[in-house]
């Protein structure tokens, strides 16, 4: 009961415009990557895509 009251009191103001609903503040049990890793991954893909046609030219 007491928990329910608290959430009611803290209810946020309604949104003033629409957007895609996305929730990233929640804990999800995925494979955690540091942002540096994401950047490294992107650089990896970019380098791969540049080098591949040079090393193995498409027919």
């Amino acid at each position: 009961m007491s928990r329910r009251r608290r959430t009611r009191d803290q209810a946020p103001m309604p949104a003033v415009s629409a957007g895609l609903l996305r929730f990233f503040e929640e804990e999800t049990p995925g494979i955690r990557l540091r942002p540096e890793v994401v950047v490294a991954l992107s650089i990896g893909l970019i380098v791969f895509s540049i080098l591949l046609p040079m090393l193995y030219p498409p027919v």
């Binding site: 209810a11 415009s17 609903l21 996305r22 999800t28 494979i31 991954l41 591949l52």
Partner: protein, 471 residues
């Protein structure tokens, strides 16, 4: 409690890569750095061609690409299309109560995010396949197909992660918005300044073409209206006009006075903006049209190459031009792609009329739908206002009277907003607005949100005590 649909995603959650949320408060400067880094990566990816694919060629899909921040023949071929499509579909399902999801329950929200990501990945895969199988790159051997598929898939995953990185608090705003604005800005810049030869003997960009016209002493008419949808003076004027109209519309709103029931003296306003349901109708319409285009292309090239099947002809007929490009020539797909200049409109008035009618009605109907789906309908807003301890002066502090007051404003404003947004999008296409009307519409509202977010960040950095108030 999560429904059966969301529960199915529980085991998948553990295998999905995700960005680690920051453990401390990330400073404004660091946020700016991460945001800029994501942006630079996005821009570079848009310059890297896919394996064995040359850039260039006419792309009838080009104008739909703007809102998906995608670039033809590059790692960004799919852009954020899959992410947006997945988000829209899941939210529609949840809004229509076809999947059970209690958005006030953290566990459900987590599962919803997982479902969203899974769907995005599935769409990345499916759309990459559709492009390859549908022959968007011409005939490919197995090796190239596999390499291109992997490139598109990894690129899609990276975009999902970059978006998450920004949204999880490492950056400012959302990756999706950032990429859209970057794409539109690039497009605008290109249309205005590109110094490349174009079909009418002048340079492509408006400014170089103008300079050329003046120096050669050509007739000024040749720059006012240019053949082949090239950036013209009319397009430039229309672009400026659309910018001003959109900025004006952004500010139009009906304000409902509210006051706090508990703290006397607190007075505020709940704004019902003209663009209340915002740009989602037009994003939805465009992504729906884009999907019609992709799938009709796949179906046509597999089953209906000679335009002889009556039923499939209703969906889409294409002709193949000298460069091997598929050009829509009939059926539904012909009407969901807009004519792109006034001369085009004059040449195909029926197509223009049907396109505008489709766009307007779609936006109007979808605005109403989105009130429910996005939890913006009078009933929900009234409940939220009451829960947040607000009341409307002169009205009883309960849900019913507030709801009936809101009922008078919200639905008409939403429909009107939807129609205006649809009208701007369709008309801009006809006038050949640079960066497309939808693109400008999206950019202006995104930049506006970014401005607000930056202000909030700055204030909360200077006055940490105010942070809780600003949330």
């Amino acid at each position: 409690m999560a429904g059966r649909f969301l529960k199915a995603f529980e085991p998948i959650a553990r295998f999905l890569p995700e960005v680690r949320p920051p453990e401390r408060k990330v400073g404004l400067n660091e946020k700016l750095i991460w945001t800029a880094l994501a942006l630079v990566i996005y821009l570079i990816m848009g310059e890297i061609p896919l394996y064995g694919i040359g850039r260039g060629g006419v792309d009838p899909f080009m104008y739909l690409r703007v809102i998906f921040a995608s670039r033809r023949g590059t790692l960004l071929e799919l852009g954020i299309g899959p992410i947006v499509t997945a988000g829209l579909i899941l939210q529609l399902l949840a809004g229509a109560r076809m999947i059970e999801c209690d958005f006030s329950n953290p566990e459900d929200r987590g599962l919803f995010t997982t479902a969203n990501k899974t769907f995005s990945l599935i769409f990345v895969g499916v759309q990459a396949l559709a492009y390859i199988v549908g022959g968007a790159y011409g005939a490919l051997d197995l090796r190239s197909s596999v390499i291109i598929f992997s490139e598109l898939f990894v690129a899609g995953m990276i975009l999902i992660l970059l978006d998450e990185l920004i949204q999880k608090g490492w950056g400012i705003g959302s990756g999706i918005s950032l990429f859209i604005v970057a794409g539109v800005a690039q497009n605008l810049f290109w249309e205005i300044f590109a110094p490349l030869p174009a079909g009418d003997g002048k340079l492509y960009g408006f400014i170089p073409a103008l300079a050329q016209t003046l120096m050669n002493g050509d007739s000024i008419i040749s720059i006012i209206l240019r053949a082949g949808n090239l950036p013209s003076l009319i397009g430039l004027i229309a672009t400026v006009a659309v910018f001003m109209i959109v900025i004006y519309c952004q500010g139009v709103r009906v304000e409902i006075p509210i006051s706090a029931a508990r703290y006397r003296g607190f007075r505020g306003r709940y704004p019902i903006r003209l663009l209340y349901v915002s740009n989602l109708p037009v994003i939805f319409a465009s992504s729906f049209f884009a999907n019609i285009y992709i799938w009709s292309q796949v179906i046509w090239s597999r089953f209906n190459r000679d335009n002889s099947n009556f039923l499939l002809n209703l969906l889409g007929q294409f002709t193949v031009d000298s460069r091997g490009q598929m050009i829509p020539s009939g059926g539904l797909v012909y009407y969901v792609i807009s004519p792109r200049s006034l001369s085009d409109v004059a040449a195909h008035p029926l197509r223009a009329a049907v396109y505008a009618a489709l766009m307007l009605s779609f936006c109007a109907v979808f605005s109403i739908t989105w009130l429910q789906v996005g939890g913006l309908d009078p009933g929900t807003v009234a409940k939220q206002l009451v829960d947040a301890g607000m009341q409307i002066p002169g009205y009883r502090r309960s849900r019913r009277p507030i709801q009936s007051l809101l009922q008078r404003y919200i639905p008409p404003v939403a429909v009107l907003g939807g129609i205006i947004v649809g009208l701007i999008a369709a008309m801009s296409d006809f006038f050949g607005v640079y960066g497309t009307g939808t693109g400008i519409l999206l950019s202006v509202s995104i930049l506006y949100q970014y401005y607000e977010a930056l202000m909030r960040e700055q204030i909360s950095e200077m006055y940490p005590a105010l942070r809780s108030l600003l949330r």
